[in-house]
Symmetry: C2
Subunit: 221 residues, 2 copies
DNA sequence: AGCGATGGATAGTGCCACTATCCGAAAATA
DNA sequence: TATTTTCGGATAGTGGCACTATCCATCGCT
């Protein structure tokens, strides 16, 4: 298949496909002559994966590149693959602020208390510290990690277990698993957060009474 | 307090504060002379709110503006306020693609089956349709909404109930509630998603065995 | 032979969230 | 009082990102 067909079946414009090729997100097609290349099913699948990450997961091109590199690194076990995907999908960098460092330390202590087997450089730790730090700046002072995160721990564990369990068993073909992990991480995030928003709306309607404006808002363009 | 103090106590650079003033995210200070203005506690709190939304929630400036407008609209009840905040925080627009429309219809049917009281124009519906659509393009064809979203429904409802319940009771001062809603929606999203990532890592370690590279990855810049 | 499509290179676009600079006037400091 | 600093407000510029547009010398098809 040539580039135009790749573009047509995937719905991605030709110039964008070229852009992905330039960026190394897509491997080059097989050259059939000095300026003619053929693309296969693998290209199509990878292209769809890229779009899923970008559109559903809101992942940056640079992060997509990292994810794809992890997928292609066959030396990675499933666990490390999952880790690499997550680390690419969660952009985070520690701060210098002493108050932030304190929040970070508190988060780590809290996580230690849970007994989870989690790498000490997991970016999600940083995200939690960001949240705790922001909340502390807002309210007066206290705000214990347990108060903020506690209610979510059981539920997060429950969901995570179900998601991991739904993946292929250890020893199944890595190929299939790899993309499942990447797509799963990105899409389940989006799906859950949308469902939670809807559930909140429902719960709020029941508690505060729904004066639901029902499409009374300006239909922004 | 003048602009430099506002900047110092909030940690936001002066030019950025000026930018927010220009954009109307911050109300102008009270003029004490033709070119001198004073800012109060309210400005500081709002500035912190803006930063929390931007940094923790990853909210765009335009969306922040919408959120603040909702906060300031005292004619909105708590339920509608929550709705406005959510709608501002979840960017989404329907597509034209017939396959997408089908996914959207399926999502709506699925949500109807749940019996949730949710506006028909909720952007979260669109997000769910995006996810379903993307998954259908990947796998062969089927993919029922129930298979993808089902496992999350109970949990999402559980979390949402707890969050709504933790908010002030109906009839409490709107002022306090408003920001709580905005901050809550943005931060709890971030907190939960980080916790879920960590729980996944733990679950994956238990299932696939943790060959945890432990900080063996390139410390990217 | 004619003609549209292709691969590859280079350059440009639009958006976004700031950031820099300038100005005349007021505050703070000496 | 003199001088230095800071102020509010306006205008313009920056850097990053994700594409998009244009060129051009083939290539393959009819």
């Amino acid at each position: 298949m040539r580039i135009s067909e790749l573009s047509r079946t995937s719905g991605v414009p030709v110039p964008t496909v070229k852009f992905y090729l330039r960026e190394g997100l897509l491997p080059p097609g097989e050259l059939t002559s000095p300026n003619q290349a053929a693309y296969g099913e693998a290209h199509l699948r990878r292209l769809r994966l890229i779009r899923a990450l970008v559109e559903i997961g809101g992942v940056s091109i640079a992060a997509v590149k990292d994810v794809l590199a992890a997928l292609d690194d066959t030396s990675l076990g499933v666990h490390d693959l999952l880790g690499s995907v997550q680390y690419a999908l969660i952009p985070a960098q520690p701060r210098d602020d002493p108050e932030w460092r304190e929040a970070f330390a508190d988060v780590n202590a809290f996580l230690d208390g849970l007994g989870w087997r989690v790498r000490s450089d997991a970016p999600a730790r940083i995200r939690l510290a960001d949240v705790l730090h922001a909340l502390r700046r807002r309210d007066g002072e206290p705000v214990a990690p347990d108060a903020v995160f506690g209610p979510y721990v059981q539920v997060a564990a429950q969901i995570a277990d179900a998601e991991i369990a739904s993946m292929a068993p250890p020893g199944s073909p890595r190929e299939a698993l790899a993309e499942q992990v990447a797509v799963g991480v990105a899409t389940s995030e989006a799906a859950f957060s949308a469902l939670r928003a809807l559930a909140q709306e429902d719960a709020s309607a029941r508690r505060y009474g729904g004066s639901t404006l029902e499409s009374a808002r300006p239909a922004d363009q």
